[in-house]
């Protein structure tokens, strides 16, 4: 019967009609038999029966199918309402849509950064990323990269794992001729693929033989994306030769679509065996160095725990193995501190980089931003609840009438819930659309190097969207439901809903204040991040950024002799000087922040300088310091006289000089580099310190050797231009490329590209907080506006009386504006208290900034007050134009 009722509603309704009509007919006939006139009889029968519709309603209720009718009715009613007042529906949908969209998009990011394991990874809970830790020179270093030798030690000497894999990455030239691009190349052991459930699309992955130590094969596995882009997805790519770095490799397989391995920054294009890379890339003198020495750190380590081994046991096992490895390293380099001092240890951490000990500020900013997005959603909920409350007041009389006519309170409540449900449904769709658009922007901000750009790629995000929508609808329905439960029928009909504005105004005021408070919290956050960003931007780096390009040379095909290389770099420099817009050209070693090199140091006072490892070794040509904008504090720069064969000279940075020769003049001192038997290099100048490792951490110091005297073949060309360097990148590349022999090529990058990632977390924080803060403020202002405007409409009569009694425009304006300011002041107090209270949690993400910055609090107060005035000025002006004649006659 229930089903029948559901599917054959019309029929059931007709039955009910028939049944009731029949009853009345019987009653009428009975009365006629008793001698009552037909008309009179029917009237009396009907009257005795009571309200037909009411009985039908109750009968439907009794059948338990009433809710279907109710929902259909409410849906129709809602749609009618939308047609009548599209503005209301639009406001609700837009408000909730923005709130939901922000959250859905942020969920995608946070999920990606912290929770979702890499695609195809088998049993991610058992797979760890291995970190090593040691104390050198009083500082504890935690690193994810290690020498391949160390990886082999750990793999051999640990027993807690059934699979261990080496994985690294390098930017290498891939391809030949015009198609050559610098790409991220995955450098992985053959065992790496055992960690995944991936099967090659065609061909195969590496065999253990192809990745054997000292006898590795030049083979390459392509990613699907690379295969499609470069080979059109054709199977005949197998067996072809692809040049990776300067090594021709045979293509043996293609990984399945979406397989990216574990790429921490750039997305990988191809994979080559770890041993192939180690033996062929000539960063070290000897092809066996990579697995015998400990001085080239490039590989990460993955390890899968055996069943039954806990993560803690795995960590202990790795630490033991690493201690053995450290001893082996110390046997080779006796100057290393003993294991008791260095305290070598290792850590089996989750696979996601952002959940390990080296988690960057980005993921924390992402988490904070999610919190912020949640606050925006709360504001949106409060706003919509308020809209419903306000509209509820306008409909008070309608509701009171319906209550009086016998519509139950539950029914009225159900109506509100249905309406909200419908609107929330549409808002969710809008939210998903907003997340799709906004997600791309967020993706670009938080995961700039990831190839996976689908904002809603997986069902996790969609499930989240559904849950968020449900929660939002429930939360929003709370206040209106509470209010409708308190409706006083008699009072409302009597008052004509005219003077009952105060009723429920406390709830509305609370919602408004909460909105304002949340906006304050977000705006304070925005202020703190903006200040941090400008503080970071104001840091003296020790070099200029915007006017500088650096040029890398990539040798391929037929190695040049050392004199040829040096001659070519000089030709490149001469060519660069002729390019219009270029002001200076110099040689150096690596750009700052990219990579740095250290060497053992000896002075006459120290047999071995204990903190040698913390001083960065750099080279510089005479023009270098003026090109980079690095100041020479005392002494001189290099000159052309400091050539190969001339007496060795060195410039040291001020903090290094202070550490090596405290209280003495560093100029003229002797520094021995590499061994205590090398000839003196004499300090001829003191430079300012530069930010070498990161923008906010000070490295121990730097020293510069003349390029002409030290490894001139490794020189990097630095080009200073007038104004923004980025506009000259292509010009410089084309001009210099012409000089490159054979397949060799140059890469030209603005120094800005190196510095920006360092500023990213603050930039992200500032961008996101400002964007969400502005959104929150807008929502709160709209909320305030609608409530004030409604208040004015409700108080028209009262205002009319006031005007009639001689109130001036100023008084009316003041009356309405002060109403708006009341909420604002309450929200401001509450919000400032919260902001100061939670401030210490955000402190680590700030730079040189206190959470309770009075400048920020002051600015936020001004902005909020301004927004409040803006929101209430329109209704206030309308109120001031109230014509007492019309107002008093209204209603």
């Amino acid at each position: 019967m229930w089903l029948r009722a559901l599917f054959r509603r019309a029929e059931v309704e007709r039955d009910l009609d028939d049944e009731l009509r029949f009853h009345i007919a019987c009653e009428t006939e009975k009365l006629i038999r008793q001698g009552v006139s037909p008309d009179e009889a029917e009237w009396r029968a009907r009257r005795a029966f009571g309200g037909v519709e009411r009985i039908k309603d109750d009968a439907r209720d009794a059948r338990g199918t009433a809710w279907i009718d109710a929902i259909l009715y409410d849906v129709r009613h809602t749609l009618r309402g939308v047609r009548r007042r599209p503005g209301f529906a639009a406001a609700v949908i837009l408000t909730l849509g923005l709130g939901l969209g922000a959250n859905i998009a942020m969920f995608g990011i946070v999920d990606r950064l912290l929770f979702r394991p890499p695609a195809y990874l088998h049993d991610p809970a058992r797979i760890h990323r291995v970190y090593i830790r040691e104390r050198l020179g009083g500082t504890e270093y935690t690193e994810k990269g290690m020498p391949y030798t160390q990886y082999r030690d750990l793999a051999r000497w640990s027993s807690a794992f059934d699979v261990t894999a080496a994985f690294g990455a390098d930017l290498l030239a891939v391809g030949t001729g015009e198609a050559t691009r610098r790409m991220q190349v995955g450098i992985v052991s053959a065992s790496y693929f055992d960690l995944f459930d991936a099967r090659p699309v065609i061909g195969r992955f590496f065999t253990a033989r192809e990745d054997s130590v000292g006898a590795a094969a030049p083979v390459v596995v392509l990613t699907s994306a690379f295969w499609r882009a470069q080979y059109g997805g054709r199977p005949n790519a197998l067996g072809q030769v692809l040049e990776v770095g300067s090594l021709p490799c045979t293509i043996i397989g293609v990984a399945p679509p979406g397989f990216a391995g574990i790429d921490d920054d750039l997305s990988t294009s191809v994979f080559i065996p770890a041993n192939t890379y180690g033996a062929s890339m000539h960063y070290v003198q000897n092809a066996t160095d990579y697995y015998t020495k400990y001085n080239w750190s490039w590989t990460g380590m993955l390890a899968r725990r055996r069943a039954g081994v806990t993560a803690a046991a795995a960590t202990a096992d790795l630490s033991r193995a690493f201690r053995l490895s450290y001893e082996a390293e110390r046997a080779m380099i006796p100057s290393l501190p003993t294991a008791d001092v260095a305290k070598p240890s290792a850590l089996a951490a989750p696979i996601q980089l952002e959940r390990g000990p080296l988690a960057g500020a980005d993921s924390r900013v992402a988490l904070w931003t999610s919190g912020v997005a949640l606050m925006v959603l709360l504001i949106a909920c409060a706003n919509v609840a308020n809209l419903f409350l306000v509209r509820g007041l306008q409909r008070q009389r309608e509701h009171a009438l319906r209550l009086a006519l016998g519509v139950s309170r539950g029914r009225l409540l159900r109506h509100i819930v249905t309406e909200l449900g419908l609107l929330a449904g549409v808002a969710t769709a809008a939210g998903v659309a907003i997340a799709l658009i906004g997600g791309r922007v967020l993706h670009a901000l938080f995961l700039p190097n990831s190839s996976d750009v689908s904002a809603l790629g997986d069902q996790r995000t969609l499930i989240f969207a559904g849950l968020a929508a449900l929660l939002t609808a429930a939360l929003t329905a709370l206040a209106p439901a509470f209010e409708s439960g308190r409706a006083q029928v008699a009072a409302m009909i009597k008052d004509g809903a005219r003077d009952s504005t105060r009723r429920g105004s406390r709830l509305r005021a609370a919602l408004l204040s909460v909105q304002a408070a949340l906006s304050v919290v977000l705006l304070v956050g925005a202020g703190l991040f903006v200040r941090s960003l400008s503080n970071v931007r104001a840091i003296r780096l020790g070099y200029d950024v915007d006017p500088i390009l650096y040029v890398g040379t990539n040798w391929r095909g037929g190695k040049l002799t050392r004199p040829q290389e040096i001659a070519l770099t000089h030709r490149l420099a001469d060519e660069a000087r002729t390019i219009p817009g270029v002001t200076r050209v110099a040689f150096g070693m690596n750009p700052p922040l990219v990579a740095w090199v250290a060497n053992d140091l000896f002075t006459n006072d120290h047999d071995s300088v204990p903190q040698s490892g913390r001083f960065a070794m750099k080279t510089a040509s005479p023009e270098y310091f003026r090109t980079m904008g690095t100041r020479i504090l005392r002494g001189r720069s290099f000159t052309d006289a400091d050539r190969e064969g001339a007496p060795g000279v060195v410039l040291v940075s001020a903090p290094m000089a202070e550490q090596l020769w405290p209280g003495r003049d560093a100029i003229g001192q002797c520094l021995r580099i590499g061994a205590d038997t090398t000839p003196c290099t004499v300090v001829v100048g003191i430079t300012e310190n530069v930010k070498e490792v990161s923008l906010t951490a000070d490295s121990g110091g730097q020293y510069y050797l003349p390029t002409a005297q030290y490894a001139p073949e490794y020189a990097t060309l630095f080009v200073r231009v007038d104004g923004e360097a980025s506009r000259l990148v292509e010009t410089v590349r084309q001009r210099l490329q012409r000089l490159m022999p054979g397949a060799s090529f140059v890469t030209v990058n603005p120094l800005r590209d190196v510095v920006d990632p360092q500023v990213r977390s603050w930039q992200l924080g500032a961008t996101m907080f400002v964007a969400f803060g502005a959104l929150a403020l807008l929502l709160a202002a709209v909320g305030l506006y609608s409530v004030i405007a409604f208040g004015v409409a409700q108080r028209t009569r009262e205002l009319g009386v006031r005007v009639a009694l001689g109130a001036r425009i100023r008084d009316v304006l003041y009356l309405i504006l002060s109403d708006g300011m009341r909420f604002t002041v309450m929200g401001l107090g509450l919000g400032a208290a919260i902001a100061v209270g939670v401030g210490h949690w955000i402190q680590p993400l700030l730079y040189d900034e206190q959470p309770a910055d009075p400048w920020v609090l002051g600015a936020v107060t001004d902005v909020l007050a301004l927004a409040a005035v803006a929101a209430s000025i329109l209704p206030a002006l309308r109120a001031s134009r109230v014509d007492p004649n019309i107002a008093l006659r209204a209603d």
């Binding site: 019967m1 229930w2 039955d15 009910l16 028939d18 049944e19 009731l20 029949f22 009853h23 007919a25 019987c26 009653e27 006939e29 009975k30 005795a48 029966f49 009571g50 309200g51 009411r54 009985i55 109750d58 009968a59 439907r60 209720d61 009794a62 059948r63 338990g64």
Partner: protein, 105 residues
């Protein structure tokens, strides 16, 4: 006389225990048998009928009335007859108990 709470169901079930009736006839029978003492509030009759139908205590069929019109006839189901027995017992106990109290001297 106002019907005490909860007795309407009992009366309907009892009225139907003698054979199928349509809604109007149920109210008439109760009215007549009670010698015009009990007046079934029309507003509650049909909701009550539909409620009982939903509980499967009565079943409805459409048939022709004596005056040859389409009418909905209700009859007791097996469950309804059992329910009637229980409610009659409960009512008897209640009235006996109330009677004892009222007979106090």
């Amino acid at each position: 006389v106002n019907l005490p709470q909860g007795t309407l169901d009992l009366l309907i079930l009892k009225a139907l225990s003698l054979g199928p009736l349509h809604g109007w006839a149920i109210s008439e029978r109760i009215h007549d048998v009670s010698r015009a003492t009990l007046e079934i509030p029309q507003g509650s009759l049909y909701p009550a009928l539909h409620r009982l139908e939903r509980r499967k205590w009565i079943a409805a069929t459409w048939g022709a009335s004596d005056n040859n019109r389409r009418a909905k006839y209700y009859e007791l189901t097996r469950a309804g007859r059992k329910q009637l027995g229980e409610e009659v017992d409960a009512w008897a106990k209640l009235t006996a108990a109330v009677g004892l109290v009222l007979d106090m001297t």
